[in-house]
């Protein structure tokens, strides 16, 4: 975060914040309840693009948004090829807003799927589907083995790198809802469940109080099916304005394809809070069980179908894990998955050119920064008399620069060779056999949409493309 603590830049209210000087901001690429996302180039290295996510100040004047804090604190601890990389954190002290700078990814699964459905009118090729799925699982396996549940996987949160050294590499993004397993529980109603319901696991729809890594695997199953058919698998109508997680229509959509879950197949089903109300509801319904394979047009003998059905297993305890999925036969058959999901190593394979992300150049990042004229930020107990005018001290910078990029992990001194702590600390030894699902809050916080009004908020179709100019 070695920025924003400059020296002689002065407090000229008309100038850009110092950290912004290193970027050329191209325009806005996304918007959500959390704030805005901008595309920028690094001045010193024009080849490098950065996505800058600006968090709104948290409502009711309660300081830094907890979502931003959670996203930063998780991203600071993780590093994986298939997880988005936090390049820097910037602070605008004038309004106490936070800016996260990420390596920019040109594509995402939402756009890729839409392009195939609406523009080229043909399915995504098998190599691309398999490579995307494998990398998604690879990133997820990393997260899960680090005890992180993403909780909000959906096509728009799965990014794919554009031209460049990392072309076609998948990156899992948007950790605003991610949780560490051992984080404390809070009742659902406290924050309201408002994320997209299309990718939500049945146990959550039935009121399960614990998030486990299995909820992410359900979402991967839904995304896999969507890559195959170019249509969301379960497009339920969301009942809004209620903290109740029990979304009847979404359950209906699932049951129509997979049949109604039974206690034999899912023994802990009876313990779920909304199971009883569901039983009453479904008495009037008959689910014919259309069969998943007919929906995705795969033979039940096809390994792709086998993998998909294991991801969409009702019982979260039986659902396939990311690690198991990576080991599945599907990934050992031709075409083998590759690092560049967009370009097959097979000669002669047609390459689809996906459009670049629309950029709204009419929204300026500076317009959203709102520097107030020379208002001292420190108020409260500060001595206002001493604060007259812009007082600039020479080079009084923070004592320790803390760059976010390329921070070295030093071998900390004083740690004996055997790393006892890492094992006793968490996860490792786990002598008490503390279960994975322990203590993960089932609540979703406020709605977290990345860069567009997303589907899933009760809409049955895709929303029209946001008005924007091409970059």
């Amino acid at each position: 975060m070695g920025d924003g603590r400059g020296s002689n830049s002065g407090s000229n209210s008309n100038s850009k914040p110092e950290w912004l000087e290193q970027y050329d901001v191209i325009g806005k690429i996304g918007e959500g309840t959390y704030g805005l996302v901008f595309l920028a180039k690094i001045k010193s290295n024009r080849a490098k693009s950065i996505a800058i996510k600006k968090f709104k100040q948290s409502k009711d004047g309660d300081g830094v948004s907890p979502t931003a804090i959670r996203e930063i604190m998780l991203l600071r601890e993780i590093s994986h090829e298939n997880v988005v990389k936090l390049a820097n954190v910037h602070i605008n002290h004038a309004d106490m807003s936070l800016y996260l700078a990420f390596d920019y990814a040109e594509h995402d699964l939402y756009e890729i799927i839409r392009h195939h459905r609406d523009k080229v009118n043909q399915p995504i090729n098998q190599y691309t589907i398999k490579s995307i799925l494998w990398q998604l699982l690879n990133g997820l396996n990393y997260l899960h083995s680090n005890w992180i549940v993403h909780r909000d996987l959906k096509p728009s949160n799965i990014l794919v790198m554009g031209d460049g050294e990392e072309q076609g590499v998948v990156k899992i993004a948007d950790f605003g809802l991610a949780r560490i397993y051992q984080a404390p529980l809070k009742p659902l109603s406290e924050n309201g469940v408002v994320v997209t319901i299309w990718y939500r696991a049945p146990e959550l729809l039935l009121g399960a109080k614990h998030y486990t890594s299995a909820v992410d695997m359900w979402a991967v199953g839904c995304i896999f099916a969507e890559l195959l058919t170019l249509k969301p698998l379960f497009q339920g109508q969301e009942v809004k304005g209620t903290p109740n997680p029990f979304q009847l229509d979404q359950l209906d959509k699932i049951f129509k394809v997979l049949g109604h879950p039974t206690q034999e197949k899912w023994p802990t089903l009876v313990n779920l809070p909304h199971w009883q109300s569901d039983v009453q509801h479904i008495q009037g319904h008959k689910y014919d069980n259309a069969g998943l394979y007919t929906v995705v047009h795969l033979s039940p003998k096809n390994p792709a179908y086998d993998l998909l059905s294991k991801m969409l297993e009702y019982d979260p305890r039986k659902r396939i894990t990311a690690a198991q999925a990576l080991d599945h036969e599907y990934f050992r058959m031709e075409p083998l998955p590759g690092r560049n999901a967009l370009v097959s190593p097979q000669p002669g394979e047609k390459v689809v050119n996906y459009p670049t992300r629309p950029v709204d150049t009419s929204t300026d990042i500076e317009g959203t920064i709102s520097l107030q004229p020379s208002q001292p930020v420190s108020s409260g107990n500060s001595m206002s008399g001493a604060m007259g005018g812009p007082h600039v001290m020479q080079n009084r910078s923070m004592p320790r620069p803390m760059p976010m990029v390329g921070m070295q992990r030093m071998q900390p001194p004083g740690i004996p060779a055997y790393n006892l702590a890492s094992q006793a600390g968490m996860g490792g030894v786990n002598p008490g056999g503390i279960p994975m699902q322990r203590g993960v809050g089932p609540q979703a916080h406020q709605q977290q949409q990345m860069r567009r009004k997303d589907p899933g908020m009760g809409m049955t179709g895709y929303p029209p493309q946001q008005k924007s100019r091409r970059f």
Binding site: S15, Y181, G385, P399, A421, M426
Partner: protein
């Protein structure tokens, strides 16, 4: 993440005793120099995000000849004041009935913050509250600043004003590994290997409780900046075992090692545990009386003009600081 080995906690925030000494010395020296140069040590955040020392009023500056100039805190005085406020953190967290994890996180934030700054630059009372506030957010036990402020009769705006400063000073390394969870692991391990023989789960429970109380103490020493949480937990467990005389801790340790690290001897670990033990024995819990004169000294360092002005201009904050005194 949940993996300490790759954590920012391990990479950035475990030090040698020498490191700590240097850092405390540097911060103290820097504040002292500022005092000489500007006549005050209080830091302000500028609109562009830079930090600077508050410029004293002209008259204060002019009058600041050698006699009236406030004296800087000594390193030991800073240490005592930190110790006082660290105890307060536990006090406040107990009053709010926050879980121990939050308490530990707040304490570690506080300790890390004052590796970067001198107490003369940022008043520990403010930082203490902001650390508790930030810990609540990070541990998903969100309490509004207002609620927190109200509960302890402090201005909540002050908590918010310092939030970004604290987050930034922590380098946004907010995930902290407290020893309580490690301790839980060891205790259930103990239970498995001993309980059958002893048939005394009640005793194990009380052993666990005393070990937790030992961790509470450890959290107020420098040990969390020196050792990983697993070792802190073992040190606490060892002390608890000495009191309870129920379990032969040495044998348990040997046992565990032969199971998990057959190649290693326990001697190295025992050295670490001895150091932690010593730190606990040396732990001071200063009372408000003990730090009263330091606090007075601190006030004049932070803000030399406050003495003559406080009655008129800073009536409100004066009031709240009196309340704070009462609370303390």
């Amino acid at each position: 993440m949940a993996d300490f080995t790759t954590s920012t906690h391990r990479a950035n925030w475990i030090f040698t005793p020498q490191d700590l000494k240097e850092k405390y010395k540097d911060a103290n020296k820097r504040a002292k120099q500022a005092l000489e140069k500007y006549g005050a040590t209080r830091m302000e955040v500028d609109i562009d995000g830079s930090f600077s020392y508050a410029e004293p009023q002209n008259d204060a500056k002019d009058n600041a000849d050698k006699h009236s100039r406030p004296k800087a805190l000594k390193i030991e005085e800073e240490q005592l004041l930190r110790a006082f406020y660290e105890f307060k953190i536990q006090d406040v967290c107990d009053a709010f009935k926050f879980p121990r994890k939050i308490q530990a996180t707040a304490l570690i934030y506080f300790k890390r913050f004052y590796l970067e700054w001198s107490v003369m630059e940022h008043h520990p009372k403010n930082i203490m509250l902001t650390c508790i506030y930030a810990a609540c957010k990070a541990e998903e036990n969100h309490v509004s600043a207002e609620e927190l402020g109200k509960g302890i009769e402090q201005d909540h705006q002050m908590i918010l004003n310092n939030e970004m400063l604290v987050l930034q000073s922590l380098g946004f390394d907010l995930i902290v590994y407290a020893p309580y969870r490690a301790l839980e692991g060891f205790v259930s391990d103990l239970e498995e290997s001993y309980d059958a023989k002893l048939g005394q789960s009640e005793t194990i429970k009380s052993l666990h409780e005393s070990a937790k109380a030992e961790v509470d103490k450890i959290m107020r020493t420098d040990a969390p900046l020196l050792y990983p949480p697993g070792q802190l937990a073992l040190a606490a467990l060892r002390r608890a075992c000495e009191v309870h005389k129920l379990i032969d801790f040495e044998r348990y340790l040997q046992n565990m090692f032969s199971r998990q690290h057959p190649a290693h001897a326990t001697s190295e670990l025992n050295l670490a545990l001895n150091v932690i033990d010593m730190l606990i024995n040396k732990l001071e819990t200063p009372t408000s009386k003990d730090v009263k004169h330091i606090d007075r000294k601190l006030k004049s360092c932070l803000d030399p003009s406050s003495h003559d002005k406080s009655k008129k201009r800073k009536h409100r904050s004066k009031e709240s600081s009196t309340e704070m005194q009462d609370m303390l």
